[in-house]
Symmetry: C2
Subunit: 102 residues, 2 copies
DNA sequence: TCATAAGGCAACCAAATGGTTGCACATTGA
DNA sequence: TCAATGTGCAACCATTTGGTTGCCTTATGA
């Protein structure tokens, strides 16, 4: 999965709320997770599917329920991507600073 | 600006490439930035506008050119958001671990 | 056993997105 | 001065997105 895909998956208020809840560990079944999002169950299902496709989340059917679990490695990848850009930026500024001081 | 808006802005390959270049400090005018993205200048312009609207980037017209600059605080906000979710996750796991060990 | 709970899937729809072309306009430098 | 450069803006288009409703299937538990 690319960084852009993960960012895209996180780039929706409903999906981000879902991910936030999962990180909290408070909700973990489809039904549970679909409540109080302001949209229908089927609507929520589609958003969860987007997260599944981006590997931000994975599903595990247990009996008649389906467990939803966060895949932390995707968050880690996203964070690492941002950090690397921040590092690039800092290095550039330092290089500029050295040039000026010389 | 909300975290979801920033993630959404970063969630497109073309826009992410633009941000990457800016972090690098190698390109900084509209014209410069619009090259080699695989789309027209006007197409690139629209994507840059998305970044502007999300406050990921800001513009500064100089004569007939327009400088594009990264707003690092948006990246910082995005990174902080991810970090906070990772912390929540870790705390949850630790709480679970303590419960099992008790 | 059988009503209820959990969930999947498809069709449909309006709005947003990502791109295009065409044209106008101000700045610049020879 | 004037052609070239850098940029903006609007109209247009196909596809994607985010949501809906309707219906079907499978487990569960009283």
């Amino acid at each position: 999965m690319t960084a852009a895909q993960i960012f895209k998956a996180l780039g929706d208020p409903v999906r981000l709320e879902i991910v936030k809840r999962l990180a909290d560990g408070s909700a973990y079944t489809m039904n549970n997770l679909s409540k109080d999002l302001g949209i229908s169950r089927q609507g929520a299902r589609k958003q969860i599917q987007v997260l599944v496709s981006a590997n931000v989340v994975f599903l595990k059917p247990i009996g008649r329920e389906t467990l939803v679990t966060l895949d932390m490695s995707s968050l880690e990848l996203a964070r690492a991507f941002i950090t690397s850009m921040e590092n690039q930026w800092d290095q550039r500024l330092n290089a500029l600073k050295n040039f000026v001081e010389k």
